[in-house]
Structures are given as C-alpha cells and as structure tokens.
Symmetry: C2
Subunit: 274 residues, 2 copies
C-alpha cells in the first residue's frame, strides 16, 4: 500500500511547494538528465511504472485520489502527495490531466546489457525527432514481442512527456537503450548475432521476399530512420540488407509508425511459424 | 501550363483580398461544406491534387513561385495568384508554410460508386475523430493497394487540413466515401461481395489464423474503430468476423495506425500470394 506523504490535516501541495516545483522542472530534458527522473502521467502509465518499480513519488488531486484508489492501494513502494488542481496543471503535459502523475527513475540500460539476454527482435530508431513517433515505436515493438528499443544517433528523448504518453506504458516493459553512436550500435547488434535490416523506400530487398525465403525467422534488428530524412546512407549500407515495404498503390511511402508495424509484425510472425 | 490570375504589374494579393478571404474560410468544416471546396497545402499535396484534376485555384508566395516553378508549369487547368507572406500565413494550417496552397473541389464519392468497381480491399474508419489518424489510414490504405476508404458514422472530416497533410497525397489517389450510417455501409460492403472484418482487441479470431487458412485472399473490407472507444458493439457483431492482431509482448494494444497497417498489409500479401 502506498504511503501518504503529507500528514493528516496538512494543506494540499500547491504549485509553489518545493516538491511540486522540482517535479515540474522535469518537463525540460536538461532537468530530467540532471535529476535522473522523468514524469509518467495518467493512470495507465503510473500503473505500469509502479509494476516496474520505477516510481519515486506520486502526485494526485483530491479527485484523482478518489478515482484512482485501487491504483494507489496496489502499490507498495511509493509515497503519494495530494496536490491542488493548479499544481496538477503545472505538473501535467496534457490539457485535461487525469489526476495522477508519477516521478520515475530514468530507466534506459546500456546496449551491452540489453544484448546480454540475446534478444530475438530489436527495434532501432535512428535520429528520430518526433516524440509521438518514438512512443508509437515503443508500443508497437512491445506488441510485436521485441524486447529492446534502441534510440540511436541524435534522437528524441524517450522520456519526453509526449513519448511516454504515446508509448501507452510500453516504455516500462522493454529494455530502452540510448546509443548516440549509431554506427557502433549497429556493430554491437550484429556482434550479438542479430541480422540487421535497414528499412528504406528504395531498399534492394522486398519485405515479401524475406517472408517467402523464411529468413525473417532469424534474430533480427530492424533499423528505422526519421520521417523527414530516412536512414543515413552509411547506416543503410552497413546493414545486412536494405529492405523496402512493398507499395502496392500510388502512395509514395508509408509513414514511420506504419512501416515499423508492418516490419516488426512480419518478423513476429516468421519467428513463431512452424 | 497554369495561368497567372493577376495581370502583370498587379499588386500581390493580401489577406484582405476577397479571393484570399474566401479561401481562408475553408479552415472551417462548415465553410468547406458550403463551398464544396477544401485546401491542399504544400508541393506534394498540390501536385497530387493537380494530377487528380481537383484544383480550382492556387496561391503562391513570390518565394514559392520560384521554388515550385516546375509544379506550376506542369499544370494545365488551374489559375494561380501570387500572395503576400501574410496572406499565405492566413491560408496555411502549418506554422512554416511551404509557399504553395491549392483550393480543391471536395472529392468524396457515394459508396455505391466506390463499390461499382468491385474493389478487393477497402478500409472503413468508424467514428474516428483524430484527423492525423484519418490521414494516416488514407496513406496506409493507398500503400497497401486498397482502392477506397470509407469514413463511417460520426467521423472526422477527411478534408480537415491535418488529415489532408497526414494523407501525404493519398486523399487524391483513392475513392473517399463518407457514410454517416455505418450499419447501412456494412450491409452495402457485404452486398458488394466483400468479407467484412472488424478489428477488436478482444476479437475471437486471431489475424495469424486468417493468414494460415488463406482466407485473407478474399475481397475484404477492414473495419477500424476509434482510438478511444474501438468499434461499436453492434458493428463488431454484425461483421463477418471480429479479428484481433496478436499481442506478443506486454502492450495492452496497438494504436490505430499500427493496427491498420498490420491488417491491410496482411490482406495485401494474401491477395498477391500464389
């Protein structure tokens, strides 16, 4: 059971209470790095954060305390504090907060640690900048059974509130890796026995051919580039194959989230086929 | 070749010029319905709109006129007018407009007309409200080779600027249908020989089973519900099957765009397999 941080009869925390002020700063990447903490907003994210043992503090409004009683009751390790609606508005990234938000420890692991468990399916997002896309890739990779997502190169911060929200809890399910040197990451992935497949609209290999020849059953790391620029040429060339998702109609391409879903689920199916 | 609407030496159109004022109103759904027109912004959308013969007017900035010379040169049926940067800011939905925007005729067709060509693959978006999701479904459906997208029930306006942008031109490639009565649309789809498959996280049928038994090769209409509420129960029950995309990890579900990509590409592959 969670412990109430305030004493009975204490006033609600306001947006000027030092603990709230400190937590509100976690909207900024620099402050997240400095504190080693980030914010997870809403009951779903807080539930997954609690299950992952990542929570340091929980803030709830009086209304949120009533609405999310089970959530607060089910957790054993975290304190919670009741805050004013104004304080919640300062803490929250959404326009209509759901009354509960948690301060969590950053949880990325080194690439070596993620590879030590010999993953069979890994998603690598290279230089992607849009937090919504980053969160969607976490969610889709989790659903497809991938066990690690690598944010490589100069990428969006996976602890950006919009990424946390778009991941719908999956940020707490997977090994999250930040690898500023994408080329070194590619070598490490290959060294761990993963076949590296670079997605590209102009890739020489059609995804359907990989499904036909059965080779997607191998342990695989899928590399996805940014929506605006795709993968850097040198990474695409360094990968084991450059793969295109077939375009059957007249669309120029798929968007990043759709391409990632098609590729990761192609691997998921191939790895589970008899 | 496009014709310049202003005469040589005429001043640039400003945000107070009646033609610009009238076009700016097309940001509002009500005004789009009244005028029967909508806005397509940026060179990619304008190019596809011109190719589809949908363009009535083009507005360009002086800079846009230089940058998009080929685009303006290649079109035969549309007038263009040079506008001030302020006028472009009033016309554009984006913060950094790309200097060209077109007024287009609404282009949805009745469901009967879309079904007359006996489509093999149709996407049906039911009561979806997010314009970005709507545009992504258009783009993904186009890429997967679907030839029609039906917006059923109380759905977002496909001519919303954010939807037009997210569709990346695909709005101009497909038969777009608006069908306020979703139940009647389901009956019409089935009447046209399409197997109707309702996506649901709790569907009784696993997508992999449909891939295994080969039945996805049949002409298929995929029904997708809203991100927040899924498909209405009565529609899910009325469809030929309720299908779940398998979740291999710990994610609760896939988001709408990812689920649509996986399902539509599963059909695309099955319909093309030998």
């Amino acid at each position: 059971m969670t412990q109430h941080f305030q004493r009975p009869g204490d006033p609600l925390f306001t947006q000027r209470t030092p603990r709230v002020v400190a937590a509100s700063k976690l909207h900024r990447r620099r402050d997240r790095e400095k504190a080693g903490r980030f914010l997870a907003e809403g009951p779903q994210a807080v539930r997954e954060a609690l299950a992952a043992g990542a929570v340091r503090d929980i803030f709830v409004t009086e209304d949120g305390r009533r609405r999310h009683r089970d959530l607060l009751h089910g957790a054993s390790s975290a304190h919670f504090s009741v805050v004013t609606d104004d304080a919640m508005a300062a803490l929250a990234d959404t326009v209509t907060p759901q009354g509960v938000i948690a301060v969590c420890d950053l949880r990325d692991v080194p690439l070596d640690a993620a590879l030590a468990s010999r993953p069979k399916l890994v998603a690598v997002a290279v230089e992607i900048r849009d937090p919504g896309n980053a969160g969607t890739i976490l969610r889709t990779a989790d659903a497809a059974g991938a066990t690690a997502v690598v944010f490589a190169g100069d990428a969006v911060d996976p602890y950006n509130p919009k990424c946390v929200r778009a991941s719908a809890g999956s940020l707490f399910h997977l090994d999250v890796v930040r690898a500023p040197d994408a080329t070194a990451a590619l070598a490490a992935l290959r060294g761990a026995g993963l076949r590296t497949l670079a997605t590209s609209g102009y890739g020489a290999t059609d995804l359907d051919d990989l499904l036909d020849d059965g080779s997607l059953a191998q342990p695989t790391a899928w590399l996805f580039g940014s929506e605006a620029h795709g993968l850097p040429d040198e990474l695409r060339d360094a990968a084991d194959a450059a793969v295109r998702v077939p375009i059957h109609g007249r669309a120029e391409s798929l968007n990043l989230a759709a391409a990632a879903a098609v590729c990761l689920y192609a691997s998921a199916r191939a790895q589970r086929s008899r």
